[in-house]
Assembly symmetry: C2
């Protein structure tokens, strides 16, 4: 375990500013950011002051203590014991001299995202009536938004591995191939190339299913003339990649060409606009203009990109949290371009998605990958 | 899409009994149970009466309507539009003549499990102040608990595929092998054998890391004399498997043998007790006696098994929801035996986990797999 004391100190300084007595970490991304390693069930308490405390199973205590000489391990043998221990610890922290409050109330932060289930939050509120549970995202996101050089290297490596998977997928796109086979082989290639896992399943959609907003593994085999979308999300040391490509098997119909050309033009138009100070709303306006020029504006979907890092979608996650549409980008943030499908209902859809670093002269691709949609049928 | 109208009718009858005006489905398992198919973002409204309504992206409408002649599709083009549409629909349902209430209040059910994030529930409560959000689990779990013959066949097939993965993993356990390689090859074998995906990553722990409660992919290679745990969770049509085995590489030390023998005896003692009417608390008492006989009772962890079906852990999920320890099992439920690790801190841990059907004459394994821990080193 490579505890990031520098980051923990910055989190604690921010906690004291905003009046958080503790942050309870229950998610992979914040845990990895602070402890330099993941756990299957990541659980930790970051107090407003003093060493961080990892919450772990009793059988793991000797190894954790050896790996964490300057931290603390709070062990449990059952879920009931774990809950009581955390309640007691938070009560102690609230009572500690100098404990921060906000509007006169002791507050505890917790990430509010897909990994934080409502039933655990409801339980937390019930057993900790004397503290107010608030989102820790404003504290953590503000620190995690801009990536340092090490983080950019890992994000680039993950994106490179996505390219390995895409090469493998593309080579398999032949008439009659099953989407499940393409997905399996692409995943295997990425894992062998060093991916730890993927953020989502590998999505491979064929034909009319390219219209789907989120993708899946199509049940029907690939047919000549079909569109195909492959969407890959490998992770390296928790850092996420996102590479999506659309292919057409055989001679493209004019409408295929129109759709694919439009999307390629969207990416080319948005990339130079991915600069510090821009917002997703502004990038969407650029994309909309391109769609309008091709007479496809009625099919245009907002949310051309999203933040990406230790979480597959992070600030600005504009298609999940509408106010994120107006977050001003900062230099060194990492963003995708190409998130939403451009789908003509009943016909098919397209997208080309890559990860870029936000820079003064526009988005810089972390690992360029060709856009070459036509596959000889 | 193979809409299960019989199941939907049973859900609606139960909703009217308990006073739910609607269930909002946002999870894979209930969606699959009711619609016979999964979606990457499963979203549906089950009203207290009338056809079910799938919530989907506008580009997907033509295909969904074709697949769902007797259902309804509510389309959205943005997350804001989706939220407003659902708020309006729930308001209409509440105003509908004959709309059920409970304690004079209109109530809407939603699954309360790991897939239901707190931030969406908080948003739901804010935008729907006139309805009370309650758990839909009592309705859904009561119907889903006992598996029919088709479900048992799929669960058995998933468990058979886990065996394919375990064969592959076992064959690779040689000195110096990386856990990541074992995990990658086992996953690949399961996907090629027909698994759709896995419920969790493939966990492969070596040496001292076999003490971990949840497993992971160990960073260090396998050394002679090491214990190794492989934990596999493939899915077939959404139905989950769970197969865990512990191996020892080379001549086992007496303490290894003691640990492995104890766990095998736990499974053998609990299996005949997995009968209708039993509770996990009772099964745990059986396991505890075995541990005590071997002088390992101080390391015994409660929660010997959990329900399994379309969700990897379902009722009784005794290590997550303490009251589930006292749920009475019913004939035809499917349960694992072998969930918790028996870990001697600083030494190592063991478990053998399989899936069983609860029956009058004790647990019947869905796909028997050998317990043969010793691998010639």
């Amino acid at each position: 375990m490579n505890v990031r004391h520098d980051r923990i100190a910055r989190v604690q300084a921010r906690m004291r500013e905003v009046g958080l007595v503790a942050i309870v970490v229950m998610n992979h991304d914040d845990f990895r950011y602070l402890f330099g390693e993941d756990r299957t069930q990541p659980r930790a308490i970051i107090p407003f002051d003093g060493p961080p405390e990892i919450v772990a199973f009793t059988g793991e205590e000797p190894e954790l203590l050896a790996a964490l000489p300057d931290g603390r391990v709070r062990v449990f043998g059952s879920v009931g014991g774990q809950i009581h221990d955390i309640v007691d610890r938070l009560r102690d922290l609230v009572a500690q001299p100098g404990a921060p409050t906000s509007a006169g109330r002791p507050k505890v932060g917790m990430q509010q995202w897909f990994d934080t289930p409502a039933f655990l939050v409801d339980l937390f509120r019930r057993v900790n009536p004397e503290v107010e549970l608030v989102s820790s995202d404003p504290v953590m996101d503000s620190l995690r938004m801009v990536k340092d050089a090490d983080e950019l290297a890992l994000l680039g490596e993950a994106q490179r591995i996505a390219g390995v998977g895409m090469d493998r997928a593309r080579a398999l796109l032949r008439p009659g191939v099953a989407a499940h086979e393409v997905a399996t082989e692409a995943l295997y290639a990425m894992l062998r190339a060093g991916a730890e896992r993927t953020s989502t399943p590998v999505y491979v959609t064929f034909g009319i299913e390219t219209c789907m907003l989120h993708g899946r593994v199509s049940p029907q085999p690939l047919a000549p003339g079909d569109l195909a979308i492959v969407d890959l999300t490998p992770q390296v040391e928790g850092y996420c990649a996102n590479l999506a490509r659309t292919f057409v098997l055989g001679e493209p119909a004019p409408r295929h060409t129109e759709l694919l050309t439009t999307y390629a033009e969207i990416v080319e138009a948005v990339r130079p606009a991915l600069r510090p100070g821009a917002t997703v709303a502004e990038l969407d306006a650029v994309a909309h203009q391109v769609c309008a020029r091709h007479g496809l504006e009625q099919h245009h979907v907002y949310g051309i990109g999203h933040g990406i890092g230790l979480r597959f979608e992070e600030v600005p996650a504009s298609t999940i949290i509408p106010p994120h549409r107006n977050v001003r980008l900062r230099e060194g943030m990492t963003m995708t371009i190409g998130h939403p499908v451009l789908a003509i209902p009943g016909f098919g859809g397209a997208r080309f998605e890559d990860v870029y670093r936000v820079a003064q002269d526009g988005g810089q691709p972390l690992a360029p990958y060709p856009v070459a949609p036509v596959i000889e049928g």
